[in-house]
Amino acid sequence: MAKIIVVTSGKGGVGKTTSSAAISTGLALRGHKTVVIDFDVGLRNLDLIMGCERRVVYDFVNVINKEASLKQALIKDKRTDGLFILPASQTRDKDALTHEGVEAVLDELAKDFDYIICDSPAGIEQGAQMALYFAEEAIVVTNPEVSSVRDSDRILGILQSKSRMAEQGKAVKEHLLLTRYNPTRVASAEMLSVADVEEILAIPLLGVIPESEAVLKASNQGAPVILDTESQAGQAYEDAVSRLLGDEVEHRFLEQTQKGFFKRLLGGK
């Protein structure tokens, strides 16, 4: 049986799609058959980040409306074995997803896959609620600033009250993924620290992804940043995947790097 994990945040633009792409790639790299679904109907972003936009023929909504089979709509990732993408449609309206339709697709996917990653749209309304409804676990993507933390808190409330698990009297397993973390700006108190965010949200920390140019580069190339094993962001996502799989890994990249003396001495930037 597949494990269904939603990547959600409330606030927009915090790194849900970047994280969905990286984490699903990471899971597949470790040998877990994984599918990542774009729930952001109308925007369609995941396929760009995954670099498969030109191969989209059918989408999630087509499958729900029975205009295409799941097999036709699933895109096999070119770079990573055991990874599939179910793209969102760009044109349809937001009401295209129904509980029954989504459930049927998830049930069918659950037969074949180990992990189903749901990339949620922003907000706390219908679209986001649809993406999280069937989830057993949630990765709550948060930026270290007050409005993002507040939205994450709200989405946690929704997870524990409006999901299927909640309706069954169970709890959705929560993970905090702090992204776009900039230790320099934390040090100058422009941003909240890891400890601040942990204190407010009080859920287990899955990972801290530093703010990194590698992310932009990766999305321009259509290759999830986790494949950039040289980059800090890529490594931080690696660690997060390990923790998701139950390993205990120490958190990295939380401190300001010693800009300066040695690097300057060695001519680095």
Binding site: R150, D153, R154, G157, Q160, A171, I200, A202
Partner: protein
Amino acid sequence: MADPCFQIKGTSVTSMVLDLYHYQGEEFASALHQKVQSAPLFFTGSPLYINLASFNGELSKPELQEIIKHCQSLGFQLFGCKGGSEPQAKLAKDLGLVHLPASRARPDKTEPSPEPEPAPVASPEPEAISRPTRIIERPVRSGQQIYAEGSDLILLAQVSEGAEVIADGNIHAYGPLRGRALAGVRDNPNARIFCQHLEAELVSIAGHFVLNDTLRERCWKQPAQVFLQDDSIEIAAL
């Protein structure tokens, strides 16, 4: 015999009651607004009736229309009027409100009474019912509201900023209390709030409240209790 298509039973509905003492448009509107601001989630959408038992003077049709408008625009579901004079009862009915007869004969009041209006209960003798304490083990998150009706409320995890916890009895918070906490909301001045970590946006006892800026000066982020003394909120270290 055919299946009955309905059944009528007696029931009691929980609603809020607004005891109106006198009416001045502006004052009423701003006081009501302030009240709702103190706990938006609690008040919004609540069924409400207006109790005229302690109302002084006359109420004109435009005035009642204004009251209805104010209540509705703040999100109350105003459904009726209770008590009042014959003409007031007629006015209420003319404006589409339900008119409820006044409670059992009570002495005519000439000034606003602090005595609580009993909640509308079906039994003629309102008796003190104590319900089991409500215990919440998970965090109460922003946008969520917990109401312990007729009982105490125990919160084992945190209450986030933007959340509301409300009880007819006392509130006990063992995690950080960062949201709004309202105890004794059905006019119980003896209710208290006990917390391990006071960081609330607002605390209220029986309708009296203080905000975050006042709280910051007293026991902020410390264990504390909140209670009412001579109609004013007191905060003391635990």
